[in-house]
């Protein structure tokens, strides 16, 4: 009886160790995927205003205006304390 019990325990251990894990046995599930079309960005042509340089002129005028108005603000200092 004792030998049978040892045999059974050893058998269970052997089978348990030799059996491959369940993850290995099941092949990875491959689901067929249909390629989804990706939208390629179409380069948008610059606007006429941008191409003519109107936007650059506007920006330059604004920056010059800002520089002068800041100078005027600096000139408004009072030195009396």
């Amino acid at each position: 009886m004792k030998q049978l019990a040892i045999f059974l325990i050893l058998s269970i251990l052997f089978l348990g160790c030799s059996a491959p894990p369940s993850e290995k046995t099941t092949p990875p599930k491959i689901t067929p995927t249909t390629p989804t079309p990706t939208a390629t960005p179409i380069p948008t042509p610059p606007s006429i205003e941008s191409e003519l340089g109107i936007e650059d002129i506007q920006k330059e005028l604004e920056e010059l205006e800002k520089l002068l108005s800041e100078l005027q603000e600096l000139e408004n200092i009072t030195f009396e304390i």
């Binding site: 042509p45 006429i48 200092i77």
Partner: protein, 321 residues
Amino acid sequence: MNLAKFMLILLLTIALAYPAAAADGEGKGKANDFRDKIFETHKERAMKWVESCYRWAERLEEKVRASNIGDEAKNRIQARIENMKGEIGEMRSKIENAKNYSELRDAMREIRTLWIELSKQMRLIAYEHFVIQMEKIIEKLEELADRFESHGLDVSSFRDAIDEASDALEGVKAKLGDGTVKYSDIANLRQKVMNAFEESKKLAREYRPKLSDGIVMANVSGSFKLNGTVMALIKGNGTVNVEPTGAKIKESKGKENVIEALVVRGKVNVTGEGDFKIIAHGNGTLTMNGNGSYTYKQCMNQKFVNGTFSDGFTINFGFGC
């Protein structure tokens, strides 16, 4: 008895005088506290102001460095800005070194004297930079006027506005030269340039070349041949022949061989000899012999291609768009 009276008067005097003296001392202490507080406030404010001056000078320097003005003007302005920054640094030291209200007040008096000269310099440098940039903007506006005119738009109001801006610019440049320029002159110039710019924006809304068209802008010194179905502007000095002559929709001549503006439209064959600026929209071929420069787009939705030539060059534009 007299002694007793005297003692009584003395005691009364001491009794009355002591609280007043104590109150006076307390008042002085409060006054000192108040002065300390306003000293800190004034010093902080003065430091902020001087830092703003320095940042303004740095921004101006950055703008001058980034601008495409000539090296001579750039170096001259940059040297003046450096000098200006040095003086601002001197003002900053005076404020920083003030330990109390009186020292700060003295420092501010000295700074006021420095500032009279420094603010003049700052204004002149800012104005000079402003004038150089305005000159460049006016040049760009003139190029836009040519381009709009080459597309058949009526640019008379735009050109008038540009002329007014150019006159104002010349006036400011003269005053800048003799150091008499004022803010009102600068504001007037700015307004004139803004007026011209507004006209350019109106025309830009009307300027809608066909996507199937190409565009070419070229300067040639030599000879040229332009043919195709085009809308074009030719300006310069030399002789030009247009076939058919009915294709001319505008011709403005100056002295001798000066062609101020020749606008052609339709199926044309234009030849010329001399120095010219040519801007054409449509479908055609421009062949140039001599030397010059060009910018073109074969189709309107493409990017410009630039280049120069010293012998000859042929540009096909508008075909296959």
